[in-house]
Symmetry: C2
Subunit: 192 residues, 2 copies
DNA sequence: GACTTGTTAGGACGGTTGTCCTATTTCCTG
DNA sequence: CAGGAAATAGGACAACCGTCCTAACAAGTC
């Protein structure tokens, strides 16, 4: 096992802390402590807090693309791929119950801070949106693919927000199932 | 027109700033400036930042109850009342596009801060949930009223989050309409 | 007019923050 | 082994934060 670079360790720790505590409420000291390095060393790698936020967003974006690419290479049908997306809610429910959706909570915070990196954070949403749209297009839904994509995205965001508020596993499973049923209905409409 | 008390002015300004900038990112000085009073005067009314957060939450809770009570006294049917709730998204879309849902974004922030007032903020969600549950019960849906209530709540949260990310009026209207159609379907199932 | 009570103003405090600087150490290259 | 670049440590800094204190003002009562 090769040692990770200090820079990568910083980005990973910052990613985790931004998710758990929020961007604004996470300090340089918090991240440096988590990586066990000095603040001076931290400054060597990232000059400003915005720099590390940008690095974290880039890393999340890359990870998102990798995940979506992998689903497309697994040879599933478009419908099965969309179901993979929906079921993130189930697989990550422990974290979502604690800290909500990583994308949704970050964009909402950056919007309130008036932070210039808001646009880049929103682009992660766009990556999901475009990927979902392509899946619906491949299902034959060329006309309203984007609208269907946004509906899936909105559904998952609603689940994440309420999952965090009520911390109810049954609610999550029920709503994921409902979204799955909706997907089945869309697919059968298209077949007909 | 009677003058409002300084205390009420503080709570109103804090409510607005917490919504626009977030709780943590809003300082005593910000609020004092908005009300045009000194920090010392501010401290006379609220000893700690948690005190004013609590006052803001109480005020929001009271306003929420008032709004829901009013809808019940207007003599509408339960289904029409639920539709009133859904259409908040339309009426408040300008603010929602800028700052998201006031309840959803606050609870998500307090969760990340590990703030002790999270429970009270979540109670606002519970007020909506219970009210919606009662409406579905009055529609005859006694068995799954709570589940239906959570579905409406989740739907509106999803709309609010994506409305803030993409700032798309058509998306909001389309999703609100879809939620309305879902409500019609639930109602017709019940009648049958 | 003195006294009391509620209200406002403005500054002091200790702590934390993001940022920056300067030594010191580590490591690779010739 | 020498020398230079990359990396790390640790502290200094100005600004801001929540909190607290004290003095002044306002208004009504005896």
């Amino acid at each position: 096992m090769t040692e990770k670079s200090t820079r990568d360790n910083i980005v990973e720790a910052a990613h985790q802390l931004f998710y758990e505590k929020g961007f604004d409420h996470t300090s340089f000291a918090d991240i440096a402590d988590a990586v066990n390095i000095s603040r001076g060393n931290f400054y060597y790698h990232f000059k400003t807090k915005d720099d590390i936020l940008k690095a974290v967003i880039d890393q999340r974006m890359a990870a998102t693309r990798d995940m979506l690419d992998a689903w497309e290479k697994e040879g599933n049908t478009p419908k099965e791929r969309i179901r993979c997306f929906i079921e993130i809610m189930i697989n990550n429910r422990a974290k979502i119950k604690k800290h909500g959706c990583p994308v949704g909570t970050l964009t909402s915070e950056l919007a309130k801070l008036g932070h210039p990196a808001l646009g880049e954070a929103n682009e992660i949403f766009t990556v999901f949106r475009d990927w979902l749209r392509r899946q619906f297009e491949q299902m034959g839904r060329t006309k309203d693919a984007d609208e269907l994509a946004l509906h899936v995205l909105a559904g998952s965001q609603g689940i994440a927000t309420l999952a965090s508020a009520f911390r109810d596993d049954k609610f999550i499973k029920r709503e994921v199932e409902a979204l799955g049923d909706w997907l089945d209905a869309v697919a059968s409409e298209t077949d007909a």
